[in-house]
Symmetry: C2
Subunit: 386 residues, 2 copies
């Protein structure tokens, strides 16, 4: 099988786009990706989205976005796995290309979370938890993260402020990302005095919800034109795994087992280890999830993920840079779109076009997105084609 490569990328800024509808955000990112790919026309479109049915009273986004973007008629559908929707859509595009039955595929992650119809955003997002056993009892995603964080602090003997490094790093990296939602510096003192949202999760442990869309055009390496203007980036592993949806059903609250399985399979497929990754775009929707993700993916032992933040190892110049354009925390968290933002950002890094955000000599990057509190995990490994 020929390598599957990123031909084009596109993204909107993440923020409160009150003047742009869901279809417009999607179109903007898709058009940019097609332009970046030299006009390559997708045959199929995979849309990662979790909230449009609840917040925009809209299903069937595939047909809607394909048509609105001038691609009426092509194969198109929505792929949903809560916050991992973008990653799941990328996984489906990867499989479609790997089958040989699709030659050029587009993947969009899009979410419209502000200025929309329907119930409150928190309620809609809570549908990613187990509705019968968690959400119906009043648990929100933030409440679930608070339970995990409290347990982490208890088992591993750490303080709430020990998580500050994740958010401080994210804000530092977002500063020079024009598409980031929050480009201000976050000082540890500000983190320490931030109001609680759901104790011990404070305002700066959580990522801000925002509108946004990001897109990829993917194809096989042998189909790239001779004058392809970018350094190709290949997807050398793609893997999706699941876990119990309800957190109380898991064997160990502090093991993201879907993330662990998914990362392990990705390493196997790529023939690489965690120590060979130059950066890792993980799901830092909550600081505790960042710590747990680093542990699940093998960058730290159980209970030690938080130390990578304390010791500066997650910065652009650290051992394993994360959230290199701000992550969910500061670039912003547009729900089901985040997985595609991650893929776009890693592509920029591997092309060497990240400017002030560049991870030096980045050749390999891993991306992982999580649904809900980690019930779905999707991992991709991307490599610069030398």
């Amino acid at each position: 099988m020929s390598d599957i490569v990123v031909a084009g990328i596109g993204q909107t800024a993440v923020g409160e786009h009150w003047e742009r509808s869901l279809r417009e955000l999607a179109h903007f990112s898709l058009e940019a990706a097609i332009r970046d790919a030299g006009g390559m026309r997708p045959e199929a479109l995979y849309v990662g989205n979790m909230l449009a049915p609840a917040l925009s009273h809209q299903t069937q986004l595939g047909a809607l976005i394909a048509d609105f973007s001038g691609l009426r008629g092509i194969e198109a559908m929505t792929v949903e796995a809560a916050g991992a929707s973008g990653g799941a859509a990328l996984r489906q595009a990867y499989l479609a290309l790997a089958s040989g039955l699709v030659s050029v595929a587009a993947v969009i992650g899009v979410e419209k979370m502000t200025d929309q119809v329907g119930p409150g955003v928190e309620a809609a997002v809570a549908a990613a938890a187990d509705s019968d056993w968690e959400a119906a009892q009043g648990l929100t995603q933030t409440g679930l993260a608070a339970l995990l964080m409290r347990r982490y602090m208890h088992e591993h003997g750490v303080q709430q402020t020990d998580f500050a490094g994740f958010s401080v790093n994210a804000h530092a990296n977002a500063k020079t990302n024009p598409n980031a939602m929050f480009r201000n510096t976050l000082k540890p003192e500000a983190f320490a005095s931030a109001p609680m949202v759901a104790e011990p999760v404070n305002m700066f442990d959580t990522a801000p919800e925002g509108d946004g869309a990001a897109a990829l055009v993917l194809t096989r390496a042998d189909l790239l034109p001779a004058d392809f203007p970018h350094i190709p980036v290949r997807i050398s592993a793609s893997s999706l795994a699941t876990d119990a949806l309800a957190v109380h059903d898991r064997k160990d609250l502090l093991t993201l087992s879907a993330a662990r399985i998914s990362a392990r399979r990705a390493y196997e497929q790529a023939g690489l280890g965690s120590d060979e990754m130059d950066l890792f775009e993980l799901h830092d929707g909550y600081t505790v999830l960042a710590a747990l993700s680093l542990e699940a993916a093998g960058f730290a032992e159980r209970g030690h993920g938080w130390k990578l933040a304390r010791d500066g190892q997650i910065s652009l110049k650290g051992n394993i840079p994360i959230s290199t354009f701000g992550g969910l925390k500061a670039r912003g968290n547009p729900g089901g779109a985040t997985g595609i933002y991650q893929a776009v950002e890693v592509t920029i890094q591997l092309r060497g076009q990240a400017g002030s955000n560049q991870v030096e000599s980045a050749r390999r990057g891993m991306i992982q997105c999580l649904g809900g509190s980690g019930a779905t995990a999707v991992t991709h490994i991307m490599e610069r084609v030398e």
Copy 2:
């Protein structure tokens, strides 16, 4: 590439399952399909569903259903394309198997439409239309079908009662289907005097919404055990196409262009023509869609689809039997699950296990499901392996 075959099938009855939750319905059908496949364990699960986010306040069904069905950890996600969600999920499973990266895949279509939380069912279903330009103006799916039917009557000079044959046939076939929602005879006189829902769509032009789940276990032919107990059924074509979501954006209201493109591609892939199909499970959510589907798939000329019903050609002994177990009209219409019900029913026909519903010597069947008013169309051709 080795043939992709149906190893196992399962279904619940369609109806008002007030005592069963969405996860229980899904589990029941998946367990039955795995049992039917001789216990073959799926590595991946594709869930076709359109309404859970709105009506059950639940996203991330992949992880939920995999875990609840004893398959914790496997790859799992939701695929959504409104009423074509089941077909789109089947398409994704097909591509995953075709890639060679997945060896055994399960596909579930599941919908819980009665006794649920959230807004009314009609409002939730209307999200399949263009929210900004159709649904927000008050147009429901039934309203859209009424516009299409009125146009069909006007352009082709037919009467409302000329559509009766579709519903009469559906009820006749549902009589001996224990999983059907309505097993009563429908007489043409009853059709003629039925109350209007949205003129000219009357109560018997529309299909009843119901709860239900159907499942398939799919694998490659070379992976079937030597003692496989069923006649294998292979999927010889798989195709998905789209059209403008808003009906007013289409070039011709009376051409289901997504259905036409999708059917044409399926015929090409299978190397077969419409005259070689022994049955056709189509999307008879409204009688006018049945007529338009027959035309789009090449079984009738433009404007002549309704005549196949009038002339009895769609009955079990007719030229092109449709709705052989009752179709959406009488088996019931569990939204995004219908595409998998169709695949299960065609498998039963091709295995020769349809009893009183058997289409004699059925060797090839086509299934096609539609999203909304035809903005998404998914076509599969299935063949009995001799």
